[in-house]
């Protein structure tokens, strides 16, 4: 795991790392991934699902309804003229 890779991963994950952290995490990930290389020995397997038990065709009817008053949420988020304020776009 070279510095360039760990820097890229940190950027994708939106984390600022100091030089020391980059070195340390790079080493950690290296050790971890090396020990995980045992996975390469496992058979390939052609099917997989994203859950350990089958979750199939669970659907919700198209009925509008809100069981939580949106005012509560607006108060919590803090709004200005009804909008949630966020950072600069450029």
């Amino acid at each position: 795991m070279d510095r360039e890779t760990i820097a890229r991963v940190a950027k994708v994950a939106r984390l600022n790392l100091t030089e020391e952290e980059m070195e340390r995490y790079a080493k950690d990930l290296d050790d971890i991934l090396n020990s995980f290389s045992v996975l390469d020995e496992a058979p390939a397997g052609d099917t997989y699902s994203f859950n350990p038990i089958p979750v199939v065709d669970v659907l919700r009817e198209d009925e509008p309804g809100q069981d939580l008053d949106p005012q509560v949420l607006r108060d919590q988020m803090g709004t200005y003229e009804g909008f949630v304020r966020g950072p600069r776009l450029s």
Binding site: R14, L17, L39, A44, N51, I53, G78, R85
Partner: protein, 437 residues
């Protein structure tokens, strides 16, 4: 009841089991607690993380609502590793819980506070959450019964996510009957959590397991005291009329890597929402580019282990690595499920020690490398990865500290495990620390 309240306060002040407790107890209700990653109206939900400071959920998690509806009072939120990242609850931003038997030892993790509360307070039921063993571990180190239901048995609506295909809400308590009773309360389909809608109806009773399987691969690298305690426990089980057989499960060695890759991959996406907007810790300075805005809050607020897992999980999903790590791990999960189910054709449960050692001292933990810490999960990860229900019960005491034994059954067979636990606790009497609040 004030005796109970005294114990709650004691657990909070002396053992840091709770991040928050109520001011008064309601005599008409039974008392329960919830791990701090379960949302409850009226409490903060910070999941052991500084990034969620100030988050007061405006709703109850479904399991909590069900407990309340059945006459329970939520008396406190229990301490945990940040987002569930840990095996010793040492990665907590809100205090590290201390073992009820020995203040210098860990409660286990990530539901450490729940383990301590369940141990210290008689008649208490603590809701915990397991992703890779975070109910079993604390149950083992704190000497209580800990049930991790099948994935999808209990609604996760209102649970702050670690890994969506791995998280399960479960229960810790001194007695299996209390666990059994409230397991029924919190189970059942919830339309707000589609993964809870695939479960079969809970039967009226379970069946006592007649044949137990011990995978020989699971007996490697155990603390010698744990190994011999476990063998003694097996003998005791045989006296109950249960058969014990050795089996081989060669795919067990793939479980830990597959688990950590899937869990961290999912977690790294779940934690993307913590960016200083709308809830939790906010970034007030809007006059900065959104990438800097997000990066600043995250870098300041996430703990060391959280950052490590985010980096690991992000990497395993990236172009060029995704097949080898993320997709491969999904396939390995399937492999392991099939291997377990093959064992279950001939046996009713798989049994192993819960943890490879007794609760370590904090100074020992401080010397552990990351991989060593991950390795502590080696026995709890396999049933967590496959989503199978498992229960940890105390089976011995070494140097005064509890040793846990873990039984795993096939999907949906929690009641069989509870039968076994019930039979077990008649044969083996649990010890709890003397407490004078």
């Amino acid at each position: 009841m004030s005796a109970i309240y005294d114990l709650i306060r004691y657990a909070q002040l002396k053992h840091r089991a709770f991040t928050e407790i109520v001011e008064d107890l309601d005599d008409t209700k039974f008392h329960f607690s919830a791990k701090d990653n379960l949302c409850a109206d009226g409490f903060q939900a910070r999941a052991g993380s500084a990034v969620l400071d100030g988050y007061r959920p405006p709703f109850d998690a479904t399991p909590i609502r069900k407990m309340k509806d059945s006459g329970g009072q939520l008396v406190g939120k229990t301490t945990m590793d940040e987002f569930g990242f840990g095996t010793f609850s040492t990665n907590s931003a809100h205090g590290v819980p201390l073992n009820p038997f020995d203040l210098e030892r860990s409660c286990g993790g990530s539901s450490g506070g729940a383990g301590a509360a369940a141990c210290l307070i008689p008649g208490h039921i603590a809701l915990g959450v397991s992703t890779g063993g975070s109910i079993s571990g604390p149950a083992s180190f704190c000497g209580v019964v800990g049930l991790t239901p099948t994935y999808g048995r209990v609604s996760r609506y209102g649970l702050i996510d670690y890994g969506n295909s791995l998280d399960k809400v479960g229960l810790l308590s001194r007695s299996s009957s209390l666990v059994a009773k409230h397991f029924r309360t919190i189970s059942g389909p919830d339309p707000k959590d589609p993964t809870s809608c695939a479960q079969p109806v809970l039967a009226d009773r379970g069946k006592m397991p007649r044949s137990l399987a011990v995978p020989k691969e699971a007996l490697q690298n155990l603390d010698p005291a744990v190994r011999s305690s476990f063998q003694d426990a097996l003998s005791r089980f045989k006296e109950l009329g249960t058969e014990v057989h050795e089996v081989s499960m060669p795919s067990l060695r793939f479980a830990l890597p597959a688990y950590y890759i899937l869990a961290t991959s999912e977690a790294s996406t779940n934690l993307a929402r913590y960016c200083g907007m709308r809830f939790g810790r906010r970034e007030e300075e809007l006059n900065q580019h959104f990438n800097d805005f997000f990066t600043g809050v995250r870098s300041e607020s996430f703990g060391d282990e959280a950052k490590r897992r985010i980096l690991l999980g992000t990497f395993c999903r990236m172009v060029g690595f995704r097949s080898r790590y993320y997709l491969k791990s999904l396939a390995v999960r399937q492999l392991l499920i099939e291997e377990y189910q093959k064992v279950f054709r001939d046996h009713d449960a798989v049994v192993t020690p819960t943890m490879p050692f007794i609760a370590p001292r904090f100074e020992e933990i401080g010397r552990m490398k990351t991989l060593e810490m991950y390795g502590a999960d080696v026995l709890t990860v396999p049933p967590n990865l496959t989503g199978m229900p498992h229960i940890s019960v105390p089976c011995a005491y070494v140097k005064g500290l509890p040793v846990g034994m873990q039984l795993v059954a096939d999907h949906w067979k929690e009641l069989d495990l509870l039968e076994a636990a019930s039979a077990w606790e008649k044969a083996f009497i649990y010890r709890f620390p003397e407490v004078s609040p």
